[in-house]
């Protein structure tokens, strides 16, 4: 391209940039009109360039012409848009548009209410130095039962109806086997929470599911005692359920903890007065827990005289049901859009 053609293209670029700026800055219709005259008027800057096209050699003439037309189109479009904007600004929009018409919506995604419960639990325990770990769902009977001080023929096994995949292989009946796996691999201080699925041969009904979420916690170190256990759980209760929530520990039995405790929180629905949510007791049971049984430490090779610890297990699905007032556990697993949408 000749120098003449190139310089015209540069001039067109400048006209486009500066013209757009002038139009955009025009504060009223008078200013807009003078911008129009300056750039697009009969003797305006664009007309100047057009009049010079003839001076360019033939080969480049078409390119310059195309570019000039393009700039004209851009500036005209900008003028029109600016004129509309100025007009509606002076009249006010409400004069013509019914602003009560519905907005244009968009789909809002979200996590499952049980996921939210799990995440919040993990976050609260993270404040107390707990890390989140996971473990396999297909588990050996050693980790699922034996290492947790549960003999296979004990009446305690009655509490868990188990899916066996093979003679020594089960779908884990709780997330507790991860306790044993973690302790076999790491030395104290151990503070972990373990979210995951567990399986029991319960028929699918309003309060049971054959596959359900569980979250396990374990803290082991020198000097971890029942007092610390209680303080940690109270911290959790206050942060998860609210500072006004009371908690109580009462005796229970698990083969892998001793002393064992069930933890109840005061019923938020009736404030302790008794209602159908809390079965008229004023309390809702949220976890099974206790001090880790020395037999478990022995099974994983920890010195039970040196280390003590506590463990707990919760059902996030049940907690989500209490939290949102969901009457039937099966609703959580149906994947119905109108149900899931409520918790976004």
């Amino acid at each position: 391209m000749t120098p003449a053609g190139a310089s015209l293209l540069d001039r067109l670029a400048a006209i486009e940039g500066e013209g757009l700026a002038a139009i955009g800055e025009a504060a009223d219709s008078a200013a807009l009109e003078s911008a129009r005259v300056e750039y697009l008027g009969r003797n305006g800057r664009l007309a100047d360039v057009m009049s010079l096209i003839g001076t360019v050699e033939a080969r480049a003439r078409r390119d310059v012409g195309q570019r000039a037309n393009a700039v004209k189109t851009v500036l005209r479009g900008a003028l029109e848009a600016r004129a509309k904007a100025l007009e509606s600004a002076t009249r006010g929009p409400s004069a013509r548009i019914d602003l009560t018409l519905p907005a244009r919506g968009r789909w809002v995604g979200g996590v499952h209410p049980v996921t939210r419960v799990i995440d919040e639990i993990c976050e609260i325990f993270a404040e107390l130095g707990f890390t989140s770990v996971l473990g396999p769902e297909i588990e050996s009977t050693w980790y699922n039962f034996t290492a947790l001080n549960i003999p296979l023929d004990h009446p305690a096994a009655d509490m868990m109806d188990t899916f066996y995949l093979d003679k020594d292989v089960v779908l884990r009946t709780h997330t507790s086997p991860v306790q044993a796996r973690v302790m076999e691999t790491f030395r104290p201080p151990v503070r972990v929470v373990v979210p995951g699925l567990a399986y029991r041969r319960d028929s699918f009904d309003p309060s049971h599911a054959p596959a359900f979420e569980q979250i396990e916690g374990l803290a082991v170190d020198e000097g971890v005692d029942f007092v610390e256990f209680r303080a940690a759980i109270e911290h959790f209760v206050h942060h998860f359920f609210g500072r006004g929530t009371k908690s109580r520990f009462r005796p229970s039995f698990y083969p892998f903890t001793e002393p064992s405790a069930e933890v109840d929180v005061s019923c938020a629905v009736c404030a302790g007065g008794g209602c159908s949510t809390c079965k008229r007791t004023g309390w809702i049971t949220i976890m099974g827990s206790g001090m880790v049984d020395p037999a478990v430490f022995k099974a994983v090779g920890y010195d039970p005289e040196r280390y003590t610890g506590y463990a707990f297990g919760m059902g996030p699905a049940r907690i989500a049901m209490v939290r949102h007032g969901i009457p039937d556990m099966r609703l959580l697993y149906e994947g119905e859009m109108s149900f899931l949408q409520q918790f976004t």
Binding site: A156, D168, V227, E228
Partner: protein, 829 residues
């Protein structure tokens, strides 16, 4: 487990606030066993009195009615029409007079029944809300004073507490056990009447005396069997105080003899059984394994065929009872029984479990034997039962008691260190406090251990005996729990401890899951959770893990992929009339390991493999409907954006087209992500040469969709391919304007757009910042066999405004490259 408040009160002599049943329930809940329910038994019995039927005659107009002359005390004799099958002249029954009310609030008036006037009614247990028995009117013991208020005679009203026992605390299944927890040790006054203290005759496994022989054939199944013989009893209704106790705990009074055995069960946990001695052939008791196929009809009228792993009580000829579970019908005590043999035995817990599961039974007796009874208190329990029978049914007890099996060995004492108690609990207790917690519930301080005197002085190591009823206590830690419980779990409030953060690193999969959820929820998808099971027919080409003991055929296998499970959720939404579905789910899929399995090959889990997956399905409107105009449905290009972002942003993978044949091939491999749903092809995400995800339109054949359903699209990715959150490095943004150039061209059909874009980038410098295809067109104005594409290219330099000349030179290089490589024809306008 039902507990009578009055009974506990009598045994424990409750004091202070515990005299309120609610306070007692609270104490039990917080220290021993949760009280699930508190209810009143025997309320509303005000107008109901003990009455005596003087004479009866048939109703003239109705076969099933009886006319009774009833004495309700104070000289008041009334005519009452009664519909019970049996009314015994001279016997005693509860009566409600005209003007009185039944507990349910039903008012009784004098009225004519089939032409005969009836003044009030004789009542059944069910009508009095004392039990479920509607079979007949409630017969009371003879010898009562007519006119006595029924409630007073039965010791009612009472409060029934329903306990949810922990599996280790079977000792709380009786009133003595509960009384120990809330009071002091029970007093001797609970044993009324002259003690039966027989001459005990012992035998290793066989013993004779009192006219009978007892033989244990397998001491492993039955370590001990005691028997007492009572002759000349009169079987009849129990005295009202005893009947009232059983009613209060929800048991049904049957007869004085049977009720006595039940009473002792509820009092001190020992299951007992009374046989009609006259019906035992050979006056013999044999405890033996059942013979295969041997018949036995139990008390409840059920016929059983036995197997050798079950244990029976037999006489000389046949089985007469399931050991530790239930007696037989043939030897049960009836109204005609005169001589009794009372069994007081101890059976192996596992054996009782086998016996009862084989018989499909679960009884009060088997519950206790399976969990452990107090083998040291059996003589006392048997004596207690004999006393009660003598007192309520008369007769004479033989002075010889039989004991077969070795005498039980006392439980070993346990040493408990005060320092250990404090290490675990942190309560800061001294030895005296530890003993003060243990002694009221039967643990006794013994001399020994550190040479302590047992008084809980300065010695760290205390030695305590274990009471026979605490079969669950064997270790030091068991005593630590007892101390914690007795001091109260709430003693631990309000203190803080310093802690060290975990040495265990967080599992990276947790953060990966967060990244996945963020990406998909940001695109308007909702997270679903479904059960991990599926029916067999979802399997496609993959060997799925079947569950040997599934709940139903619908749940007979473990899922091998996420999309098939999500398609069922899609169908569920269709069934609810919803065409707009956007779901994803993270979960585990299962299969058989192809090569060597997990490291624990030895424990059997190595046969299986499991891995994390995410699946998603979208169908229907891209945005909610709006009045401004019709919206568009999700299409393949929306899916490509989701899958492409997933691949690129989360996995560092590239999305490639996948044709139907490729999809079928991918579905065939062991760890397949694809399935029949992808048979039309779509995309695959490739990372390091490996397929880590697939996406595509869902084959309609794999979904049960209604006619109004929109096309559905799905994807499935391997979670292991998701990377940790990257930390991007800052790149300077340019303050100088970008220059845009549009370019229309035609290319031969079949040239992939992605190749054109790649070639355009290769032909230009790094001034080319953005390439966008904004139109694809075909039609008459295009030469045959060609396709029109319109592109926008944006150029920008970080440090200057680009001149037209620079941009033109980039564009001509680009145009030349496309013309040469693809035969593109650039359109000039």
């Amino acid at each position: 487990m039902n507990i009578s408040f009055n009974w506990i009160d009598e045994l424990a002599r409750l004091r202070g606030e515990l005299r309120d049943p609610r306070a007692l329930a609270e104490r039990l809940t917080m220290t021993a066993a949760a009280v699930e329910k508190i209810e009143t038994v025997g309320a509303g019995l005000d107008g109901i009195v003990v009455s005596r039927v003087l004479e009866t005659r048939p109703h003239p107009n109705a076969d099933r009615l009886t006319l009774c002359r009833v004495d309700r005390g104070a000289g008041e004799v009334l005519d009452v029409v009664c519909g019970a099958p049996v009314v015994v002249p001279g016997a005693f029954y509860p009566h409600v007079a005209p003007g009185g009310e039944l507990p349910a609030g039903f008012r009784i008036e004098s009225r004519k029944i089939r032409g005969e006037l009836s003044h009030g009614m004789l009542c059944s247990e069910a009508e009095l809300e004392l039990g479920r028995d509607k079979g007949g009117i409630m017969r009371l013991a003879d010898g009562l004073e007519p006119g006595t208020p029924l409630a007073a005679a039965l010791g009612l009203p009472d409060t029934r507490l329903t306990l949810d026992l922990n599996p280790n605390r079977v000792d709380l299944a009786c009133h003595m056990g509960v009384a120990r927890e809330v009071g002091g040790p029970p007093s001797p006054r609970d044993f009324r009447g002259p003690a039966w203290s027989p001459e005990w005759r012992d035998g290793e496994s066989e013993v004779s005396g009192a006219g009978v022989t007892v033989r244990i054939e397998d001491l492993g199944r039955c370590p001990r069997y005691m028997a007492a013989v009572i002759r000349g009893v009169r079987v009849g209704p129990s005295p009202p105080w005893l009947a009232g106790r059983l009613l209060a705990v929800g048991a049904r009074p049957i007869s004085n003899v049977v009720d006595a055995t039940n009473y002792v069960l509820h009092e001190c946990n020992q299951p007992l059984h009374a046989f009609d001695l006259a019906r035992l052939s050979g006056a013999e008791i044999r405890v033996r394994p059942a013979a295969a196929g041997e018949p036995l009809m139990t008390l409840d009228g059920q016929e059983h065929k036995l197997s050798p792993d079950q244990t029976v009580i037999a006489d000389r000829d046949r089985a007469i009872a399931f050991a530790g579970v239930m007696g037989g019908l043939d030897t049960e005590v009836t109204g005609d029984t005169v001589d009794l043999l009372i069994e007081c035995a101890s059976f192996d817990p596992a054996g009782v479990r086998r016996t009862r599961t084989g018989a499909g039974l679960s009884t009060d007796a088997s519950y206790r034997f399976e969990r452990g009874i107090d083998i040291h208190a059996q003589e006392r329990a048997l004596a207690r039962c004999v006393e009660l029978i003598l007192a309520t049914a008369g007769g004479e007890a033989d002075l010889i008691g039989l004991r077969a099996g070795p005498a039980p060995v006392p439980a070993a004492p346990i040493d408990v260190r005060v320092s250990r108690v404090n290490q675990v609990l942190g309560f800061g207790l001294d030895g005296a406090a530890v003993l003060a917690a243990l002694e009221p519930i039967g643990f006794e301080a013994l001399p020994g251990a550190d040479g302590g005197d047992g008084a809980g002085g300065a010695a760290d190591r205390l030695r305590v005996s274990v009471p026979g009823w605490r079969t669950d206590v064997a270790r030091e830690i068991d005593l630590v729990e007892e101390v914690a419980r007795r001091v109260g779990y709430d003693a631990a409030t309000g203190q803080d401890r310093r802690f060290r953060p975990s040495a265990v690193p967080a599992d990276p999969r947790v953060e990966k899951a967060v990244r996945v959820r963020d990406l998909l929820t940001g695109r308007g998808l909702l997270e679903a959770r479904s059960l991990s099971f599926m029916p067999e027919d979802y399997r496609g080409n993959r060997a799925v893990v079947s569950v040997p003991n599934p709940l139903s055929a619908e749940e007979s296998c473990l899922r091998s992929a996420m999309v098939p499970v999500l398609l069922r959720r899609l169908e569920h939404n269709y069934a609810r009339g919803n065409r707009n579905v956007r779901l994803f789910e993270l979960g585990t899929v299962f299969g058989y390991a192809a090569g060597p399995g997990r490291e624990e090959e030895a424990d059997g889990t190595g046969r299986f493999e499991e891995s994390g997956r995410v699946g998603a399905v979208v169908a229907g409107a891209r945005r909610p409907d709006h009045w401004s105009g019709p919206g568009l449905d999700f299409d393949l290009w929306d899916l490509k954006e989701i899958a492409g972002s997933f691949a690129d942003r989360l996995c560092g993978a590239t999305l490639e087209p996948l044709d139907g044949a490729g999809a079928a091939e991918a579905a065939g491999s062991g760890a397949s992500l694809a399935g029949p749903w992808l048979s039309r092809g779509g995309f695959r995400a490739v990372k390091d040469g490996r397929t880590v995800g697939v996406a595509g339109a869902v084959d309609l054949a794999s979904v049960d969709a209604p006619p109004w359903a929109a096309p559905a699209f799905a994807l499935e990715f391997d979670l292991a391919s998701v990377e940790g959150r990257p930390v991007p490095a800052y790149r300077k943004t340019s303050p100088f304007p970008a220059v845009r150039r549009d370019l229309s061209m035609t290319v031969p059909r079949g040239v992939p757009a992605a190749d054109i874009e790649r070639a355009a980038r290769e032909a230009t410098s790094d001034l080319l910042r953005d390439v966008r295809l904004f139109d694809v067109y075909s039609g008459e104005e295009i030469e045959g066999g060609r396709l029109g594409l319109a592109w926008t290219f944006r150029f920008r330099a970080p440090d200057r405004t680009l001149t037209d000349r620079e941009v033109e030179s980039e564009m001509s290089a680009l145009s030349n490259a496309l013309e040469e490589r693809f035969g593109a024809r650039i359109r000039r306008s």
